[in-house]
C-alpha cells in the first residue's frame, strides 16, 4: 500500500478497545451524580513499590516505632525532614527504648519521594503509602507534622481532608521495603527480621519466585 497504508493504521486505532486513557478525576466534575462519579473517576492500580506520602508506624502494642535518631533527616537529599528526639518518660513511654521522635515534620514541597529515609530508618518507623494525590492551598499545609503522619489507633494511615484516598490504598504501606528486602521473599530461609505493625501484625512474606 505504500503511503496509503498509514491511513488504515490510524483509522483502526479509533474506538474504545484501544483506548489507554482512563476517566481520571472526572469525579470532581460529576460529584453530584454519585453513580456516574464512580464511572468517571476510575484509577489504574498502582505499582507495589510506588513512593507516596509517608506514614509513621506503630508496634502492635501501640508504641511508636520512631526513636528520634534523625537518620532520615541526615540522609534526606532534599532536606525536607525535620526531626527532634526527646527522652521518654519512664512512667509513660511513647516508644520502646530511651528516646522517641518528639518533633517530626516533612515538607512535601521539597520531598522528592526517593525513599532514602525509609532505607535509613533502623526501626522501620517511616514507610511510604501509595498515595500521591494530595494538594494544598497554602505552604503551611504542605508541611506534614507528626500528628498527621502518625498512623491512627487502629494502625491505618490518617485520611486527611485534602487527600484523595481510594479503597485499598492504605494497605501495604511498607510495600517498597517488603518488595526489596531479602526477608520479604517467601523463599527466604534465614531469620525474618520484620517487626510487627499495628493494624497488620507481622505480614507473611510474599512469593516472588516468578
Amino acid at each position: 500500500m505504500g503511503y496509503l497504508g498509514g491511513f488504515i493504521v490510524t483509522l483502526r486505532q479509533r474506538g474504545v478497545k484501544n483506548r489507554v486513557t482512563t476517566q481520571y478525576s472526572g469525579g470532581r466534575v460529576y460529584r453530584r451524580n454519585k453513580k456516574r462519579a464512580v464511572k468517571m473517576d476510575e484509577k489504574l492500580e498502582k505499582p507495589e513499590r510506588l513512593h507516596g506520602r509517608h506514614v509513621l508506624n506503630r508496634y502492635e502494642d501501640g508504641m511508636e516505632k520512631c526513636i528520634g535518631c534523625e537518620l532520615c533527616a541526615a540522609v534526606c537529599p532534599a532536606k525536607c525532614i525535620h526531626v527532634r528526639g526527646a527522652d521518654n518518660d519512664p512512667m509513660k513511654p511513647t516508644s520502646p527504648g530511651e528516646r522517641f521522635g518528639w518533633i517530626y515534620e516533612i515538607n512535601y514541597l521539597r520531598c522528592i519521594h526517593c525513599d532514602l529515609c525509609v532505607e535509613a530508618c533502623p526501626t522501620e518507623a517511616i514507610t511510604e503509602t501509595k498515595l500521591f494525590e494530595f494538594s494544598f492551598t497554602n505552604r503551611q499545609d504542605a508541611i506534614y507534622t507528626k500528628s498527621e503522619l502518625l498512623v491512627d489507633n487502629s494502625g491505618k494511615p490518617q485520611q486527611l481532608a485534602w487527600e484523595d484516598w481510594r479503597e485499598g490504598e492504605d494497605l501495604n504501606t511498607s510495600g517498597w521495603m517488603r518488595a526489596t528486602a531479602a526477608s520479604g521473599d517467601a523463599n527466604f530461609t534465614g531469620v525474618v527480621s520484620w517487626s510487627g505493625e499495628l493494624g497488620y501484625g507481622i505480614r507473611p512474606a510474599e512469593d516472588k519466585s516468578e
Binding site: 503511503y3 498509514g6 491511513f7 493504521v9 490510524t10 483509522l11 486505532q13 479509533r14 474506538g15 484501544n18 483506548r19 489507554v20 486513557t21 476517566q23 472526572g26 466534575v29
Partner: protein
C-alpha cells in the same frame, strides 16, 4: 449601497437591505461557530486516532473547550516585543483573520439547485441566493483572498523582530506562493468544464453524481487540489511554518493573548472554508446525491434547507479527511515540500489541464477524440521525459559544481 444597486437606478428597498444584513450576520456567526466546533472536532477525532479521549470536561463531550480556551486567551497579557514593528505587528493578525471570513462569503450555503433552479430562494418576497455574495468572478475572489492571507503570516513573522518567526514566515510565503500555482491550475480544470467562475454556477453544473467535477474532470485535479489546499492551509503534513521542533512556534512565536487567538481562529476558519470550497468545486456543494434521474431526497424537509444539510455532510467528510491527514502523515522536509510542489503537482496539473482542454476542443470541432487524446498523451509523456532529463541533469550539476547559490 453600491453593493445592492450598482448604478443606483432603482430606489433602495428595506427588505433586500435587511436580507443582506441578515446574511452577513449569519455568515459571520456560522463562521465563528464552525471554527469553534472544528477545533473541538479536531481535538476529539485526533484523540480517537491516538488512543486518547480528548477534551471531555467542559460541557457535554467537552464541546465548550474552545470557548474556555478563547476566554483564557482573552484574559492573558498582550505582549508586544520591544524590537517589533508595532503597527505591522498589530495589523498582521487581522490580515490573516479577515480574509479567512471573506472567503466564506462566496460559498453557496444551501438553496435549491434541482431542476435548473440555480439555487434561488424567495425570502420576504425577494428572490435571493443562500450565499452572502455571488460575484461573477466567484472562484477568483477566493484565490485572491487566500493570497492576501499570505501577507498576514509574512508580516507577522517579519514584524516580530525575532529570528524564528522570520524563518517561519519566509517558509510560509515560499510554500503558499508555490502551491498557489498548483491550486490555480487544478481549479482551471473545473472552470473549463463548468464554463463559469461563479460558485453558484459551478454548483448548478453538477446536478448528478457523474457531473460532479471530481468524476467529470478525472480524479487527478481533485487530488492535486486537495494536496495543494493542505499546503495552502499550512496544515500537517505541510506545517513547516509552525514546525515546533525547529522554529519554536513558527510565525506566531511572539504573539500572545487575543492576537494569537486571531491567528488560531484564522487557521481553523481557513480549514473550514477550504473544505467548503472543495465541496463546492468538486462535490456539487448543496446538491443532493443523484444518479441520473434518481435523487436521494430527504422527506419532509424543504429542498432549500436540504441543500444546507447536504453541504454540511460533505464538508464534515473533508474536515475529517484533514484531521486524518494530520494524524497519519509525518511532516515533509522543506526540499521534499518544494519538490512535490514544483516537480509533481504543477506539471501534473498543467498536463491534465492541457488534456482536458484538447478533449474539449476536439468535442467542439468534432475531431476524432481518440486521436486527439492519444496525441496529447504522447505530448505529455514527451514533456514528462524532458522534465525528468532536466531534473537528472541539474542533480548531476549540483553534485559536481555544488549548489548554485
Amino acid at each position: 449601497m453600491i453593493a445592492l444597486d450598482t448604478l443606483l437606478s432603482d430606489e433602495i428597498l428595506w427588505a433586500p437591505l435587511l436580507i443582506i444584513l441578515l446574511k452577513v450576520v449569519v455568515v459571520f456567526v456560522v463562521g465563528l461557530l464552525s471554527t469553534m466546533l472544528m477545533v473541538w472536532f479536531e481535538r476529539k477525532a485526533i484523540a480517537g486516532m491516538q488512543n486518547r479521549i480528548g477534551p471531555n470536561k467542559t460541557g457535554p463531550f467537552g464541546i465548550m473547550q474552545t470557548l474556555a480556551d478563547g476566554i483564557k486567551l482573552f484574559f492573558k497579557e498582550d505582549l508586544i516585543p520591544n524590537r517589533s514593528d508595532r503597527f505591522v505587528f498589530a495589523l498582521a493578525p487581522f490580515l490573516s483573520f479577515v480574509p479567512a471570513f471573506l472567503a466564506f462569503a462566496i460559498i453557496p450555503l444551501g438553496g435549491d439547485f434541482r431542476n435548473g433552479n440555480g439555487g434561488e430562494v424567495t425570502w420576504f418576497g425577494h428572490v435571493t441566493k443562500v450565499q452572502l455574495a455571488d460575484p461573477p468572478i466567484g472562484v477568483l475572489f477566493a484565490l485572491a483572498i487566500s493570497s492576501i492571507a499570505v501577507y498576514g503570516i509574512m508580516l507577522a513573522g517579519w514584524s516580530s523582530g525575532s529570528k524564528y518567526p522570520l524563518i517561519g514566515s519566509v517558509r510560509a510565503s515560499a510554500q503558499m506562493v508555490s502551491y498557489e500555482a498548483a491550486l490555480g491550475l487544478s481549479l482551471a480544470c473545473v472552470l473549463l468544464l463548468a464554463g463559469t467562475l461563479s460558485t453558484s454556477g459551478i454548483v448548478a453544473a453538477q446536478a448528478t453524481i457523474t457531473q460532479w467535477h471530481v468524476i467529470s474532470t478525472g480524479i487527478v485535479p481533485f487530488i492535486i487540489f486537495l494536496i495543494a489546499a493542505t499546503a495552502e492551509l499550512n496544515r500537517p503534513p505541510f506545517d513547516l511554518v509552525e514546525a515546533e521542533q525547529e522554529l519554536v512556534g513558527g510565525f506566531n512565536t511572539e504573539y500572545s493573548s487575543i492576537r494569537f487567538a486571531l491567528f488560531y481562529l484564522a487557521e481553523f476558519m481557513n480549514t473550514v472554508t477550504m473544505s467548503a470550497l472543495i465541496v463546492t468545486l468538486f462535490f456539487g456543494g448543496p446538491q443532493p446525491l443523484a444518479f441520473g434521474n434518481f435523487v436521494f431526497d430527504i422527506p419532509l424537509i424543504p429542498n432549500a434547507l436540504e441543500g444546507t444539510l447536504w453541504l454540511l455532510a460533505k464538508v464534515l467528510v473533508f474536515l475529517y479527511v484533514y484531521i486524518w491527514f494530520r494524524a497519519t502523515l509525518p511532516r515533509l522536509r522543506y526540499d521534499q515540500l518544494m519538490d512535490l510542489g514544483w516537480k509533481v503537482l504543477i506539471p501534473g496539473a498543467l498536463g491534465w489541464f492541457i488534456l482536458l482542454a484538447s478533449q474539449r476542443m476536439a468535442r467542439q470541432n468534432e475531431w476524432n477524440i481518440i486521436l486527439v487524446t492519444s496525441i496529447s498523451v504522447v505530448v505529455m509523456v514527451g514533456g514528462y521525459l524532458l522534465l525528468q532529463a532536466a531534473f537528472t541533469q541539474s542533480a548531476r550539476q549540483r553534485e559536481t559544481q555544488g549548489p548554485m547559490f
